[in-house]
């Protein structure tokens, strides 16, 4: 039997591309059987956090309208270091920057369903 790493996990997905965002939200929602939050841009997610909202795991695209995913990553690692942060990107050059800024994982696009399951295994439900 699997032992959950996080009980009652809260997951947020930040991506301006609706199709990708909805897909990730649905995979996560199905995997953890909980509501998953979706945000179009980093500002909306920051507002949620600053209003006292909590989250355990974030999957965020780098290219976002307004402030980038990297700015969001910096903010989270400074203000909420307990949050696990997965950087999603279609640009290979973003990988090094993500590592330097302290991302927990890098999800290279186009990703497969199994990659999302692996993330859930790694950060939510355990092996």
């Amino acid at each position: 039997m699997r032992v959950p790493i996080v009980y009652n996990v809260k997951i947020a997905v930040v991506d301006h591309d609706k199709l990708t965002r909805d897909f990730v939200v649905n995979v996560m929602m199905y995997s953890v059987n909980r509501e998953v939050m979706a945000f179009e841009n980093s500002e909306a997610f920051k507002v949620y956090l600053q209003a006292g909202g909590t989250v355990d795991l974030v999957l965020s695209e780098v290219q976002l309208p307004g402030k980038s995913g990297f700015e969001l990553l910096q903010f989270i690692k400074k203000e909420h270091p307990q949050i696990r942060y997965v950087t999603m990107s279609a640009n290979p050059a973003d990988e090094t920057a993500a590592a330097e800024l302290g991302a927990d994982a890098f999800l290279a696009k186009p990703f497969a369903l199994q990659d999302l399951f692996d993330i859930v295994k790694q950060y939510v439900v355990g092996e």
């Binding site: 649905n26 059987n33 186009p110 497969a112 199994q114």
Partner: protein, 145 residues
């Protein structure tokens, strides 16, 4: 930092084909889990209905493209994971049927023995088609579903 996804040389934005094949895989996993009687909470039902809706609409648009193009292959539309322009019309119909079945199950309908049998056979046909035509790595996930 843990790395997931494709190698750096193959990185590119997600397109509708990527999302369709991944959604189809998830739909098959959902169907198999449902047939085995695994528990389904409200959030899982909601995710199932959303994925089924997406797959239905995407396969419907490809069916329309097939008909308007006379099923001629279009090399320009090829993608790394799945060439959806080259898949059979009947296969698209099976995908649509699966989406309808799962959408119905997500709404608490279609629970009878014969409906489940029909869904099991449809899933087997889809898996068989996929494993015949696509790389082994693409369909490994179907075997653990």
């Amino acid at each position: 930092m843990i790395r997931y996804g494709v190698v750096a040389e193959k990185m590119r934005p997600m397109n509708a084909d990527d999302l369709l094949i991944s959604s189809l895989k998830l739909l098959i996993i959902m169907a198999k889990a449902n047939l085995k009687g695994y528990p389904m909470g409200d959030f899982r039902k909601s995710a199932m209905a959303e994925i089924a809706r997406f797959v239905f609409l995407e396969s419907l648009s490809r069916t329309a493209s097939h008909i308007s193009a006379g099923s001629k292959p279009d090399p320009a539309s090829r993608t790394a994971g799945l060439d959806t322009q080259h898949i059979d019309h009947l296969f698209l119909q099976r995908i649509q049927l699966l989406a309808v079945m799962l959408n119905s199950m997500a709404r608490g309908k279609s629970r009878g023995r014969y409906r489940k049998k029909a869904m099991a056979e449809n899933v087997e046909q889809i898996c068989s088609y996929l494993s015949d035509r696509f790389q082994l790595g693409d369909v490994q996930i179907l075997k653990v579903a």
